[in-house]
Amino acid sequence: MKKKIDVEYIANLARIRLSKKEIDGFSGQLADIISFIEKLNKADTKETPPTTHPLPLKNVFRADTVKKSLTQEKVLQNAPEKRETSFKVPKIIEES
């Protein structure tokens, strides 16, 4: 069974623009991927503990010590626009 995937909605969430042709193409491909993965639903997992991570690791910590940050020059090196030591972006207005 093929699921209808709303590619336009997903593309919008991901902030990417797709052509009509691409939308149709991805729609079929994504539906195939989803139905393939849905096979897992048939597996008996009654005795299997939930897995949230593929690595057999747990409790990886660092001590609370301050390390050197990047220099401000380095931080801003790739900024398309900056003012003094801040990144400059188009004005964000939150109020109506």
């Binding site: 609370d64 990047l70 188009p90």
Partner: protein, 482 residues
């Protein structure tokens, strides 16, 4: 039916607390406040591709403390998730947060402020990273982004919608802050953004079965602001319903200067955060032993301390709740009570009166005021011993705070001792009687309450160093003979 009783209010609060670690939650950048923009940022907190987050152990320890103090069930297993959205202050386009396996859940907080106990249930407590800070430039059409705050360790405490009024919300916030400061896990400074609060609020007809449609309130910068904003929103929702309108589920921003809420401009699509497990952080297993040892290490919390203060010291509940609210104030009270056990109620009066006044004036906490409880207790003894008057003590307290000296030294060096020499007092009294013929005449004609005025005059002449009770007696005796 009265309009006030027509509706009931339901409020749930989300409190974000910045944990007082030295370094950020997933990288070694400093958490210092007030540094030059973007001077505390690295590939991890700037979201550079390939940079890997590593959990700060101290942040988890602090978070467990809070969970335990709020009576929560601490998860045996927790994980982090990515919460996706686009905003210029979020460099990775996702925030590392916790979704379905939070650190702690199902706790409760008991409010005791006005002597009436109410329980507010805590839904969940989870860890997450903060976003950067947007500064809206005054001129031009630009916003500026500072990533020093990006990756700061945050703890989100979510209450159940058990709060029924703006006053109760205020009380809840005060209590949460008090607990956090007792635990020493956050400085809870709202001005510096280390404690922030969002609210969900709805109203419904009294007795209605289902909850009304709620709105979300953001951008409240003080506890008082929260109270005022909630009241504004209650009134706004009532007005909409009274006019036959409908409440729309939306996010509104509190504007303190304009004292009203505004609809937050949102994009067309609904929020869809597309949570999924953070693959760069492995799960965390928290064993019972760790939780039990943290539980055993907790200090006495404000509510317990309040009960003990009322029970053991017999303090008035209102005074006790003010004093226990700040840990260092309560410590000062107990230390002072050791040095001056004779009248602990008097200590409480001084703390909530003159001492609190000095703290407010100087914008200091008790711990940083430099007033030693031994010195304060000794000052109270000086009053009992008749060395100084209560009036002089008020000024002496300020001198003690400013110089850090012991009261007995100051009394000697500043010549503050009470005038006990009868001859000296009589001279002053004669002068006052001579200079105030009218009140003296009034007294003789039966208007005996002018004595207060005359005592005041003597006090003024002696700069407060006379004992008003003795002066009163002396004046009565003297004028009886006129």
């Amino acid at each position: 039916m009265t309009p006030a009783g027509k509706y009931e209010t339901t409020i749930g609060l989300e409190v974000h607390v910045q944990l007082a670690t030295q370094s950020k939650i997933f990288c070694g950048c400093s958490t210092r406040f007030g540094s030059s923009p973007n001077s505390q940022a690295c590939p991890v907190c700037l979201g550079f591709p390939g940079a890997l987050p590593v959990m700060n152990k101290e942040a988890l320890g602090f978070a467990i403390k809070v969970g335990v103090a709020l009576g929560c069930e601490i998860a045996g297993r927790m994980k982090f998730d990515r919460k996706h959205y686009y905003y210029p202050d979020l460099p990775k386009n996702f925030q590392i947060s916790q979704y379905d396996l939070p650190l702690a859940a199902e706790g409760s907080l008991e409010l005791f402020g006005d002597g009436q106990r109410r329980v507010i249930r805590i839904k969940r407590v989870h860890l997450e990273e903060d976003a950067g800070k947007l500064i809206h430039a005054e001129k031009g059409d630009a916003s500026l982004v500072d990533f020093n705050r990006s990756g700061m360790p945050l703890l989100e405490v979510v209450s159940e919608p058990d709060i029924t009024s703006p006053e109760e919300a205020y009380e809840y916030l005060t209590e949460v802050k008090s607990i956090l400061r007792y635990l020493d896990v956050s400085d809870c400074n709202m001005e510096e953004g280390s404690l922030r609060c969002d609210a969900n609020i709805s109203i419904r007809k009294t007795g209605a079965k289902s909850l009304g449609v709620k709105t979300e309130l953001k951008n409240m910068n003080t506890f008082r602001g929260v109270k005022i904003a909630l009241q504004y929103e209650i009134d706004r929702q009532k007005a909409v319903l009274e006019e036959g309108g409908k409440i729309i589920q939306e996010t509104r921003l509190w504007n303190e200067a304009k004292a009203r809420t505004f609809l937050m401009r949102t994009k067309e699509e609904a929020f869809d955060y597309r949570y999924f497990p953070e693959p760069d952080l492995v799960p965390f297993l928290i064993d019972r032993e760790t939780v039990e040892s943290i539980k055993a290490s907790l200090p006495e919390l404000p509510q317990k301390r309040y009960e003990r203060f009322v029970e053991n010291y017999k303090l008035q509940p209102a005074l006790a709740s003010i004093i226990v609210n700040e840990r260092d104030l309560a410590d000062f009270f107990e230390e002072s009570a050791k040095g001056y056990p004779r009248n602990v109620q008097l200590i409480a009066n001084w703390i909530t009166g003159d001492i609190q006044g000095e703290l407010n004036k100087r914008k200091l906490s008790m711990a940083s005021l430099g007033l030693k409880p031994e010195a304060f207790a000794d000052m109270l003894k000086l009053i009992d011993e008749g060395v100084i008057t209560g009036k002089i003590a008020k000024g002496l307290l300020v001198d003690m705070i400013e110089t850090g000296s012991m009261p007995r030294e100051l009394v000697k060096s500043l010549g503050l001792s009470q005038i006990t020499d009868k001859g000296a007092l009589e001279a002053v009294m004669e002068k006052v009687i001579k200079n105030n013929p009218k009140p003296v005449e009034d007294y003789k004609n039966g208007k005996t309450n002018v004595i207060t005025f005359l005592v005041g005059q003597v006090m003024r002449e002696t700069k407060g160093k006379a004992n008003p009770k003795i002066i009163n007696e002396m004046l009565r005796e003297r004028m009886g003979k006129l």
